[in-house]
């Protein structure tokens, strides 16, 4: 029997101890007429050999094309040691560290993660992680509403330069609590959310009372927001600032804890984002983890687990889950969130990743992503019918407008072994035929040339006729 160790003899003895004749007798409290008869739609069991064959076939059906898609998940190098250590049984098959003395490995590692994340973001406090970047934005918004006691409006300004799927997810999660997410349009020339548009949206609200604003850096288009002046303005107007960051690019970009002009510096109040770029494989969408950091003053409004350093009876250093009075298992209906788990195993990987890479490794990686994107975009925009959508500097993602239908172009590129980017037509129809292209440090000069050459061929072929055949 797969994974069940009982011998016939043991079963008999155990039933005798219990005082029943058969295992089935143990289910005699379940009404007989409700008992399940057969599970026809489930196939019979398999041996490991058979399962392996099946899964290898399935894995082989997936594409191995060169990836130039980003849009929230990134193809970065992961040192072999990271998942070797992470999948050790002692990390892999442990549970939430409720028995602290028997969980010092997980607890110390989480404390180290919190330390690394605060170092990267220049924020005061990090929790032990949320589910993913999108849900961490939702929790950040809920947290801001609890924390900004001077604001009564429960209105949040969210520029359309924030990842569209993050905005949708936040909407799903906060809509039950009378919180209004107000869209701030982007500037069509620069592809950024400007201070003027924030002001305009704020003034359009009755009383001008805004609880918080969201600012993504780099934003979904890959361009860079004017984080200092928007942060200053927000704080002058009692608006909390929620930063959405990429924890890799923040190795070289101004960290959210330092947003604001030098003389007024207070930084973002809450920082969130997806930890995937730091050691999590793309894996069809997860598991990743959500990072969530805040200023010290907001720590009691933070959802999720937090690990603290303390001492044991002998004064030896040790680690525990702390501030648990915020959480659902204590506070029940009055908890800061219903969240119970964090993404512990992925945080384990990420902590090992950051230790091996160090700041220098992260900086070199981020800079290579930037440089590769410049190279790719420079070369692609020499092709007739391709231009940049915005005039501002991009980090490692760029919006390109095509004179051929985006869906048809991407489909033709796939046939040449290239995942050429993300089609923006559903989320940003006003951009026309536009794609978001991304490069990481993994894309070599040869990879970039392969993309450019494939794109040249595709753009040289008329695709207009094929557009009809492509499902949107």
């Amino acid at each position: 029997m797969p994974f069940i160790p009982h011998t016939d003899n043991e079963i008999t003895q155990m039933l005798e101890t219990i005082g029943v004749d058969s295992i089935d007798d143990l289910f005699d409290e379940i009404p007989a007429h409700l008992r399940t008869a057969v599970l026809d739609a489930i196939p019979t069991g398999m041996t490991e050999m058979e399962v392996s064959r099946l899964m290898q076939q399935r894995a082989a059906q997936n594409s191995s094309a060169l990836c130039f898609i980003g849009a929230g998940a990134y193809d970065h190098h992961i040192p072999a040691a990271v998942w070797e250590i992470t999948t050790r049984g002692e990390f892999y098959s442990a549970y939430t560290p409720y028995q602290a003395e028997a969980s010092q490995g997980t607890l110390q590692l989480t404390y180290e993660y919190q330390s690394m994340m605060t170092a990267l973001t220049a924020m005061d406090v990090s929790n032990a992680s949320m589910y993913d970047g999108a849900s961490s934005l939702a929790e950040a918004i809920l947290m801001a509403v609890r924390a900004n006691r001077k604001s009564k409006s429960r209105k949040i300004l969210v520029p359309t330069t924030v990842n569209p799927v993050y905005r949708k997810t936040a909407h799903t999660i906060v809509k039950g609590q009378n919180i209004e997410l107000i869209e701030v349009p982007y500037d069509e020339t620069s592809g950024t959310a400007t201070l003027a548009q924030f002001k305009q949206q704020a003034e359009a609200q009755q009383g001008g009372d805004i609880t918080a604003l969201v600012l993504q850096q780099p934003n979904f288009f890959g361009t860079l927001e004017a984080v200092d002046e928007i942060t200053d303005w927000a704080h002058e107007n009692n608006i909390l600032v929620i930063a959405v960051i990429n924890p890799l690019t923040v190795a070289v970009l101004k960290p959210p804890g330092e947003w604001g002009s030098d003389e007024k510096i207070r930084g973002a109040d809450i920082a969130c984002g997806d930890g995937q770029p730091l050691g999590a494989p793309m894996s069809a969408g997860g598991p990743y983890y959500g990072l969530l950091c805040c200023r010290q003053a907001l720590v009691r409004q933070m959802p999720g687990r937090i690990v603290g350093r303390t001492v044991d009876l002998d004064g030896r250093e040790g680690f525990v889950l702390t501030l648990q009075a915020r959480e659902q298992h204590i506070r029940r209906s009055k908890a800061t969130s219903n969240i119970c788990t964090n993404q512990g195993l992925v945080v384990t990987a990420s902590t090992i990743y950051m230790s091996i890479m160090g700041a220098q490794g992260l900086e070199n990686t981020a800079a290579a992503c930037f440089a590769n994107n410049n190279t790719l975009v420079e070369k692609l925009t020499t092709i007739a019918g391709i231009k940049k959508a915005f005039n501002s500097r991009c980090f490692h993602e760029t919006v390109l407008q095509l004179e051929q239908p985006a869906a048809a172009v991407l489909k033709a590129l796939v046939e040449k072994g290239i995942l050429g980017g993300y089609d923006l037509s559903d989320d940003y129809p006003e951009l026309g035929s536009a794609i978001l292209v991304c490069t990481t440090e993994m894309r070599s000069a040869d990879d970039i040339d392969a993309y450019v050459s494939a794109m040249q061929q595709v753009m040289a072929t008329g695709l207009a006729g094929e557009a009809e055949a492509v499902p949107c």
Binding site: I4, H6, E10, M14, I23, F27, E29, L34, T36, A41, I42, G45, V51, R58, A71, T87, G89, E90, F91, Y92, S93, Y95, P97, Q99, A100, E101, A102, Q104, T106, Q108, L109, S115, A134, T169, K254, M282, A284, G285, P287, G308, T310, D312, L313, T322, Q328, H329, R332, S333, T341, N342, G344, L345, T348, S355, G358, G361, L362, N364, A367, F395
Partner: protein, 481 residues
Amino acid sequence: MLIFEHSSKGRTGAPQAPREKASLNGIDDSLLRKTSALLPEVSELQAVRHYTRLSRKNFSIDTEFYPLGSCTMKYNPRACNSLAMLPGFLNAHPLTPDAQNQGFLACMHDLQSMLCEVTGMAAFSLAPMAGAQGEFAGVAMIEAYHKSRGDEARKEILVPDAAHGTNPATAVMCGFSVREIPTLDNGDVDLDALTQAVGPQTAGLMLTNPSTLGVFERNIEAIAKVVHEAGGLLYYDGANLNAILGKIRPGDMGFDVIHSNLHKTFSTPHGGGGPGSGAVGVAERLKPFLPLPVVTRENDRYRYLTAKDCPQSIGRLSAFMGNPGVLLRAYIYMRFLGREGMVRVAEFATLNANYMMAEAKRRGFTLAIDNRRASHEFIITLKNEAREFHVSAMDFAKRLLDLGYHAPTTYFPLLVPECLLIEPTETEAREALDGFMDALQQIKQEAETNPEILHAAPQTLPVKRLDEVRAAKQLDLAFAR
């Protein structure tokens, strides 16, 4: 010693990153970072050694018996990990066109179908990333369902007082108020109290069955009738699905919506506290409201359903597809088991729990609920030991750690004083169960003769009892540089 304390300025894990730092020319200076983040500066070996050593300070299923009640700490088959980490899956970008992602989507579609069959529901979404998010999705669907019918007065969710804390917290997150329903001494929900509590304000009842008290809710049909006749929906918290897998299906019991913790019943790793998965299943009438994405099959090809296909969906819960790596592991596990293996899960989990319960009684422990069948878990109350010998459930738990066993769940459910909630799971051999009971009996004797041993435990672990008050008062949440 922290990883930061192994640092030496200028030391790097060089071969892992591009050799040079490329120029950042073109980015406005005011947008750049001025000083490097203070991350550890260690060699790869130092990092590997540090984290390998840290791992050895954990108890885990792979190293110890871990009978943590309500958590289903069963063996996580190694093949589920290695096969989910095949390059074809790991290197798949989540926005890969469906046509290039058929292998993965086929697994997800199969998984949805198998979950429907084993729970008796009409459709499943794999989107929720944890049990609590599955609960959120389930309650949000209940809200959307009533709203779609113009039935907007239903603002109250009923929750038994034995429920897991996420139940009331979730209901509040979805904009509902919560009313608690008492539980009888025999572990069943107080049906009279429920009948009085329901009304036109009732949106639904959230129920775990078997309950957190480790017994099957015998009046489930009557409960379903009361709630449905009042116009409410019935929510199944799948925390304890392991106990009944293949024996009785939530759909057949009358539940309208369920979540299943795949990290419990379907053996995906707990990973030190996640990632999990809280896949949600629904009866026919709630199908339009399922969270996205959902995988469908058309003409032998698989694709993600989008908001265009499902305009009434409660929406998205994550950036992509929940936790696919977890979903793959659950899928692989289910293929190992097959239909006959699923039934055995419930049978042997229940056999092990009832055997331990009988042994506990024989050895003089007090059961929280006597004369009932245990489900896959049962509760010992140490209230007598606490009164007579001044030892607590916490003391028992800490002493168990000394003897090489992870402690059961303590102080949950909140209804039972000084309790240990014990869940052995089906993958433990009889020797482990006997060893644990021997340890528990030894501790009971120690409590009678020398309770100081219990108070001072643990003695053999990397640390002794930790000062939690200090941790909360003198907050130290990050290494100070």
